[in-house]
Symmetry: C2
Subunit: 141 residues, 2 copies
Amino acid sequence: MTLALPDMICFALYSATHAMQHVYKPLLDDLGLTYPQYLVLTALWEQDKQTVGALGRQVQLDSNTLTPLLKRLEERGVVTRTRDDRDERQVNITLTDAGRALQGRAAHIPACVLEKSGLSLEDLTRLRDQITTLRDHLRGA
Amino acid sequence: MTLALPDMICFALYSATHAMQHVYKPLLDDLGLTYPQYLVLTALWEQDKQTVGALGRQVQLDSNTLTPLLKRLEERGVVTRTRDDRDERQVNITLTDAGRALQGRAAHIPACVLEKSGLSLEDLTRLRDQITTLRDHLRGA
DNA sequence: TGCGATTAAATCGTATGCGATACATATAGC
DNA sequence: GCTATATGTATCGCATACGATTTAATCGCA
């Protein structure tokens, strides 16, 4: 049995993710951020000063992806990277003033995405929860 | 207003897509395929001999991604790439015997994914349609 | 205390994605 | 028929993703 692309749930997720990033692109270009960088900053706006590992657990990325990404954010002056005093294996990521300032400039983005989605907030919330449930099943949780 | 990661529909899609690809990984490793390569072959199993552009419209990728991907599939002996006689701008992608043979070796994959999803076929189908609707809205269709 | 096992980041190699551009062929309008 | 435009691929540069390995620091336990 071979399913065609439109029948595959995996392709629905794959293409919807790309469509979503396409919506974010012009909004994030204004802030000079890429989409994964925006996710990392979202985690830091919620809780500042986190280790690379802690950030990775939230955005589901490992240090092989995060380290270069965080170095680019550091070069842009958005975060600082400092070795932890207690445990020198860990690197703490901290927002700079410029990094905190980006939160305000990004505040309008969720409403833009909601509008582009063409769905009500209720429908979108319900869909989000279903997708999250599927993800957790796939992860074997 | 700033949403936290777990509240964001975009992050649900993003992380679910990664989780899905993680499920496919060991299944596709057996076939020596990457996930996007598998999507392209799925389109070719449905309809052989398609141009780069036609494949791109189905998998939602442009030639900048497809050309190197198709060259790798050609190197593996899975497809052939030949200029069209009528219109030399176009390149026809055709399955080889080895490429067609992969369809049988991939036939068990949908059932594996269904099982890992932890959802019924009905629920999964309904979810797929909702995600597809969201995607089409985001694309501005 | 000392040393093997574990942990946290970083590094390396390969394969996407994608914006921007280049190149070749085909088409349209005169 | 000739040229301007349009179309289909390919190329280039940059930023993810991620498996595998490396390096440095900490921990566990005899």
